[in-house]
C-alpha cells in the first residue's frame, strides 16, 4: 500500500468508528452526561458544600476535573472494547483482516475512534460542569496533552480487552472489576494527601492517579504528584500498551487461526 492508500484506510476506520457511536448516541453520549450531572449535583453541590476545601480548592472545583477525566477514561475504553469485540463476534473484523491494511493502521484507527468518543463525552461533560463551577484553565498544553494521551491509553486497553474477550461478559468484567475501582481509588474524589502514607504509596501504582492529577494540574495548577513524572509514566504506558496491542493484532490466535 502506498502512504496515500494507508491514509485512506486509516480515515475509513476512523469515520466508521465515529459513525458507529453517533448512530447509537442514546447509548453512547447521553448516559455519561446524565451520570456526571448527577455526580456534580450530589457530590459537588450537596455533599461537597459540607466537605469544605480539598487540596486548597472548593470541593466542586476539585472534583470537576476528576469527573471529566473519569468520563474520558470509561468512554474511550468502552468505545473500542464494544466496537472491536462486536466486529469480532459478528466476524466482520474479517473485512479488515483480509484487506492489505497494516495492523498498526487498524490499531491507530480504532484508537482514534475511541479518542473521538472520549473527547466528545469529555467535552459534553465539561459543558455541563459550567453550570456548576467556573472553569478556568491553568495550562492549555498540559490539559490538551493529558486528555489526549489518556484517551489513547484507555482506547488501547479496550482493544486488548476486546481481542482477549470470548463473550460479551468478558468485555464488562474488566471495566467492572478493574477500571471502576481504579478510577474511584485514583484520586477523582479525594486528594491522596488525605491517605495514610502507606496507602498513598500504594496509590502510586494506579495509572488513573497520574492521568487525573495531571489533568487537574492542567485545569487548576494543583497536583498531588509531579506533573512531568506523571506525563512520562502515561507515555510509557501508551508505548508499552500500544506495542502489546499491535503484537496481539498481528499474532493472536483469537483473530487468526
Amino acid at each position: 500500500m502506498t502512504p496515500a492508500q494507508k491514509y485512506i484506510a486509516f480515515q475509513t476506520i476512523v469515520v466508521r468508528e465515529i459513525r458507529r457511536f453517533m448512530r447509537i448516541w442514546v447509548q453512547t453520549l447521553v448516559p455519561p452526561v446524565i451520570t456526571m450531572s448527577l455526580y456534580f449535583v450530589i457530590f459537588g453541590k450537596l455533599i461537597g458544600s459540607r466537605i469544605g476545601d480539598m487540596g486548597g480548592y472548593s470541593y466542586m472545583e476539585f472534583v470537576v476535573p476528576g469527573l471529566i477525566m473519569m468520563s474520558v477514561i470509561t468512554n474511550s475504553y468502552s468505545n473500542v472494547v464494544s466496537s472491536f469485540y462486536g466486529a469480532k463476534f459478528a466476524n466482520n473484523i474479517e473485512e479488515l483482516l483480509v484487506s492489505p491494511t497494516p495492523n498498526w493502521i487498524i490499531l491507530a484507527g480504532f484508537v482514534i475512534g475511541g479518542v473521538a468518543r472520549g473527547l466528545a463525552v469529555g467535552l459534553l461533560v465539561t459543558l455541563v460542569s459550567l453550570f456548576f463551577t467556573r472553569l478556568q484553565i491553568y495550562s492549555i498544553p498540559v490539559t490538551v496533552l493529558v486528555v489526549f494521551l489518556t484517551a489513547v491509553l484507555f482506547s488501547i486497553g479496550g482493544l486488548i480487552n476486546a481481542i482477549y474477550a470470548n463473550s460479551f461478559d468478558d468485555i464488562s468484567i474488566v471495566p467492572t472489576f478493574v477500571l471502576t475501582p481504579l478510577t474511584y481509588l485514583g484520586g477523582v474524589f479525594y486528594s491522596i494527601e488525605l491517605l495514610p502514607e502507606f496507602w498513598a504509596k500504594v496509590s502510586q501504582a494506579n495509572p488513573v492517579l497520574y492521568v487525573v492529577n495531571t489533568f487537574r494540574y492542567g485545569v487548576l495548577g494543583h497536583s498531588d504528584i509531579h506533573v512531568g513524572y506523571a506525563i512520562g509514566m502515561i507515555l510509557v504506558a501508551v508505548l508499552v500498551g500500544g506495542a502489546f496491542a499491535l503484537h496481539q493484532l498481528t499474532y493472536s490466535p483469537r483473530l487468526r487461526n
Binding site: M1, T2, A4, Q5, K6, I8, A9, Q11, T12, I13, R16, R19, R23, A87, A90, N91, N92, E94, E95, L96, L97, V98, S99, P100, T101, P102, P253, R256, N257
Partner: protein, 310 residues
C-alpha cells in the same frame, strides 16, 4: 514468462488441537482461468481460501498471488485478491452502500471512486433498490450478492468465492453464473468452491478436487466428466414388478415391488433407450426415474475407487 495468478506449493495446515486439514496441496492457476475447487464437507477448501487471505496461518508450504509471496509481501498479495467467504460476515447493522464503500476504503480506494464502483456493482448484482437498506434486512440471496459486490470494489485480479451459490435459487444461480462468466471474460481470474458438479460444468474449464486435505484430481472438466461413466438410476414402475423378470446385461437391484435400481455403464455401451426396450419387452412400464446419488457424490466414489485400485 507468465506469472501465475495463484501458486500453491505443498501447503499444509494443522489446526491447534492437532487436526491436519491440509496435507500438502499443490495448485497453480493461470491468469484468466476459471477454476472450480470441489470436495466433500470438511475437505479443506475453506481452509485453503482462509490461508490466502490471512485468516488462517499455514503450517508449511508456499503461496504466491500474482507473484507476490505471502511470506514476504502479504499486503500486496492481498491487494490482488477479492474474497467471498462461505459465511456472511458483514456488519448487519450497516447499509449496503456503506458496507461497499467502507470495504473499498480498507484497500485504499478513494471515496469518490469507491462510491462509483459500489453503484456499478449494486446495479449489476440487483442490489440497487436496496442500497440504503441495512444488511440484516436483505434476503439470503441478496446477502450473497452483497458479498460478491464487496469482494469486487477494489477491482482485484483474482476473485475467490467459497460456495457462492449455497442457498440460492435456480434462477438467481443462473444470473450469478452469467455475471461471473462476464467478469472472467473481462480478465478476472476466478476460483470457486462448490458442491454442485453442474456449477463446475457450467463455468469452469478446469476442476481441482480436494478430499481429506489432499488434492485427488486436477484436470479439464471435460476429462473429469468422462470418468463419470457409470450412473445409477432409480426407476419407479407402474404396477408390480413381474416375479420372473431379468436384466442380464445390467447391474440391477430390486428395491421393492415397484422400485428398481439400474446402473448404466457407458463402457458397456449402455444407453437408457436399450434399457427401456429391455424393460418393455417384459411388460414393465417405467413411470419415472431419477439419479440415485448426486452426480458429484457418484464421481467422488468412482475417483476414490480408482485411486485405491491404482
Amino acid at each position: 514468462m507468465n506469472i501465475p495468478a495463484l501458486e500453491i506449493r505443498n501447503l499444509e495446515k494443522t489446526y491447534p488441537g492437532g487436526l491436519q486439514a491440509l496435507k500438502g496441496i499443490d495448485l497453480t492457476v493461470k491468469e484468466g482461468e476459471f477454476v472450480a475447487l470441489l470436495g466433500p464437507n470438511g475437505a479443506g477448501k475453506s481452509t485453503t481460501i482462509s490461508i490466502l487471505c490471512s485468516l488462517v496461518q499455514k503450517t508449511a508450504g508456499k503461496v504466491s498471488v500474482c507473484g507476490y509471496d505471502i511470506d514476504t509481501d502479504f499486503p500486496t498479495a492481498k491487494q490482488q485478491l477479492g474474497i467471498v467467504p462461505q459465511e456472511f460476515n458483514f456488519n448487519s447493522f450497516e447499509k449496503v452502500q456503506d458496507i461497499l464503500v467502507t470495504q473499498a476504503g480498507y484497500y485504499g480506494v478513494p471515496a469518490h471512486i469507491a462510491r462509483d464502483r459500489a453503484d456499478h456493482y449494486m446495479k449489476k448484482l440487483g442490489l440497487w433498490e436496496k442500497r440504503t437498506t441495512v444488511a440484516r434486512m436483505l434476503s439470503g440471496g441478496m446477502k450473497r450478492r452483497l458479498m460478491i459486490a464487496r469482494a469486487l470494489v477494489h477491482e482485484p485480479r483474482i476473485l475467490v468465492l467459497d460456495e457462492p451459490t449455497a442457498g440460492v435459487d435456480i434462477e438467481l444461480r443462473r444470473s450469478m453464473w452469467q455475471f461471473l462468466k462476464e467478469k472472467n471474460a473481462e480478465g478476472t481470474t476466478i476460483i470457486l468452491t462448490t458442491h454442485y458438479l453442474e456449477e463446475a460444468e457450467a463455468l469452469c474449464k478446469r476442476v481441482a478436487i480436494i478430499d481429506k486435505g489432499e488434492l485427488v484430481a486436477d484436470m479439464q472438466t471435460r476429462d473429469l466428466l468422462k470418468r463419470l461413466q457409470v450412473e445409477t438410476f432409480v426407476l419407479d414402475v407402474q404396477g408390480d414388478l413381474p416375479k420372473d423378470f431379468a436384466l442380464p446385461d445390467y447391474e440391477a437391484k430390486v428395491i421393492d415391488e415397484h422400485t428398481l435400481e439400474v446402473t448404466l455403464d457407458k463402457q458397456k455401451q449402455h444407453t437408457a433407450n436399450d434399457l427401456f426396450v429391455a424393460l418393455s419387452a417384459q411388460g414393465i412400464v417405467v413411470q419415472s426415474l431419477r439419479n440415485k446419488a448426486n452426480r458429484l457424490e457418484e464421481l467422488f466414489v468412482r475417483l476414490l475407487e480408482q485411486g485405491r485400485a491404482a
